[in-house]
Symmetry: D2
Amino acid sequence: MNDILQIISNTLEQRKAVDSEKSYVASLYQKGLNKILEKVGEEATEVILAARDAEVSGEKNELVHEVADLWFHTMVTLSYLNVDFNDVLAELAKRHK
Amino acid sequence: MNDILQIISNTLEQRKAVDSEKSYVASLYQKGLNKILEKVGEEATEVILAARDAEVSGEKNELVHEVADLWFHTMVTLSYLNVDFNDVLAELAKRHK
Amino acid sequence: MNDILQIISNTLEQRKAVDSEKSYVASLYQKGLNKILEKVGEEATEVILAARDAEVSGEKNELVHEVADLWFHTMVTLSYLNVDFNDVLAELAKRHK
Amino acid sequence: MNDILQIISNTLEQRKAVDSEKSYVASLYQKGLNKILEKVGEEATEVILAARDAEVSGEKNELVHEVADLWFHTMVTLSYLNVDFNDVLAELAKRHK
């Protein structure tokens, strides 16, 4: 299952050659970095709110969805800037192994 | 290398039993959810600024560091709320496979 | 011109009695605090991006618009929670006079 | 009391000529726009968390403090970029009067 990040990364790379009307990611690439970063900011806020909700309700689904959204849009950011997400995993490995 | 997320998750779980003076994560757990979420907000902002810098300079290291910080603190959030990060990967797999 | 904040505050109070289909603010109130705070997070991100753009371009209009949006949505937050924005001005006066 | 924003704006302008070791604002100016915008992001997150706390507790002081911090750091942003905060009030007046 861990390979899902690699699968997403490959898909993001392929979207660079796709018509922006046929793909959400291609449309984000076409709008440019600010639009992608607005999504990162939005999703970070939604993680914060969902975490506060989860602490009260014990219900975790919304939080899982919002963290998935946030990680996905950080991967779009990396892909847009031609940075390999494996460099992030390598940085985490350097710190935590 | 993908297993690094599982290694971090295991480490975060172990930190719950550690003296808050002896571990950064244990001190975050002890301060509570708001302090953890402040870090998520801070790191999201730093990702946004580092992405803008990387677009201009072509230098990627700072962005890699900030995304690592952001992913790490979202994992602290999940761990604090007893949510398995594998649920996030499963959600991403459901959407993108 | 400074009285614009008081005018906005009065308008926000009046919107509490208005049909949510007839007013943007009334619809925000009806959706609840999370939706209002999502707007605060979004607008903060847009201020950050517009400030970075303004530094490069020297063009200030977008930044002025985004700060106006951010201040407005913090006033909606205060109004929703029945906090007088004058308490914020009083706190600033206490610190800076 | 509304004049407090003008007083702050004047003070921020004067800080541009002050030694960065003798003033918090002068030190922010010296560190540059990214550091100022990190503060905007931090304070926006703290407003969001304080608003959620205020909704539960009914206690408003923390929210008032955090909104004051956020407005102050947006004014530092404007001042750093030589944008008059009165342009923001004028924009709000145009929309809401």
